[in-house]
């Protein structure tokens, strides 16, 4: 994996912008990722870094958060790794429907749904020792038969409001 770059940042809010900057600068040197997809990626990275920093804060950890970017011909893989106490991504609370007046009590819990909607694939690997969130952005169709249809799914899908 000598094609990968790694950024280690202190687990503090002021460094999230740097993570976004590095990822978006890397993504924009590829000619095969559209600007609006780079914007999506920035939001996803920002959400994951924010959660990682929060996890270190609540675990009282001084460790760094690691952002790894691996470039492949057909995709960009970004992973955000922390050493917090972890969580179970399958059992996050559901939000009430937007019409429910209670919806206004949900100022949080929007991050993971945003990540899931904005990127092509996300794999969350979490244990008591920490969490790794691996985000994949497809850059060119993997299978030539999929040309067009494949990329449309990626960007149209992400503009639909989440259920």
């Amino acid at each position: 994996m000598d094609q990968s770059i790694e950024l280690e940042i202190p687990a503090r809010p002021e460094y999230v912008a740097l993570a976004r900057l590095v990822v978006s600068s890397l993504a924009s040197t590829r000619r095969d990722l559209a600007d609006d997809r780079i914007d999506d990626l920035k939001v996803a990275v920002s959400e994951a870094c924010t959660n990682a920093i929060e996890a270190h804060r609540s675990a009282d950890s001084d460790d760094s958060v690691v952002v790894r970017c691996a470039e492949f011909d057909d995709r960009l893989e970004i992973s955000i790794e922390d050493r917090g106490h972890g969580f179970d991504p399958e059992s996050l609370p559901e939000h009430p429907p937007v019409t429910d007046p209670d919806r206004l009590n949900f100022e949080r819990g929007l991050g993971i749904p945003l990540i899931r909607t904005l990127v092509d694939e996300v794999v969350i690997d979490s244990s008591g020792d920490g969490t790794s969130v691996r985000i994949t952005m497809q850059c060119t169709p993997v299978d030539p038969l999929d040309i067009g249809g494949f990329q449309d799914t990626g960007s149209d899908g992400s503009e639909e409001p989440a259920p």
Binding site: A17, V43, T50, V98, L104, L110, G111, P113, L118
Partner: protein, 111 residues
Amino acid sequence: MDLDLDVTEQNGVAVLAVKGEVDVYTAPRLREKLVELVTQGKHRIVVNLEGVEFLDSTGLGVLVGGLKRVRSHNGDLSLVCTQHRILKVFEITGLTKVFSIHDTVDAAVAA
């Protein structure tokens, strides 16, 4: 990283223009400003997001918090936003149905 917050008044409505990136680092300043406005008795607020270059769920949370706060005073908080990349995070999270979002400050103030 800068976040510029600038308050003006238009027809009795407080217009808060936000410029820069709204994330976990800068969002607390936005929250404080909204709290300050409500404390000053400004319960009709328009937040102008046209100058925002980045906004993630931390920023959304602060805006939802602001809306809750003004509503508890029978007020309202609406948004000005035409930028696709910013609207997108409102759409995905269903918040386009929670906020009224306008194309211009004038339209938001008049609403």
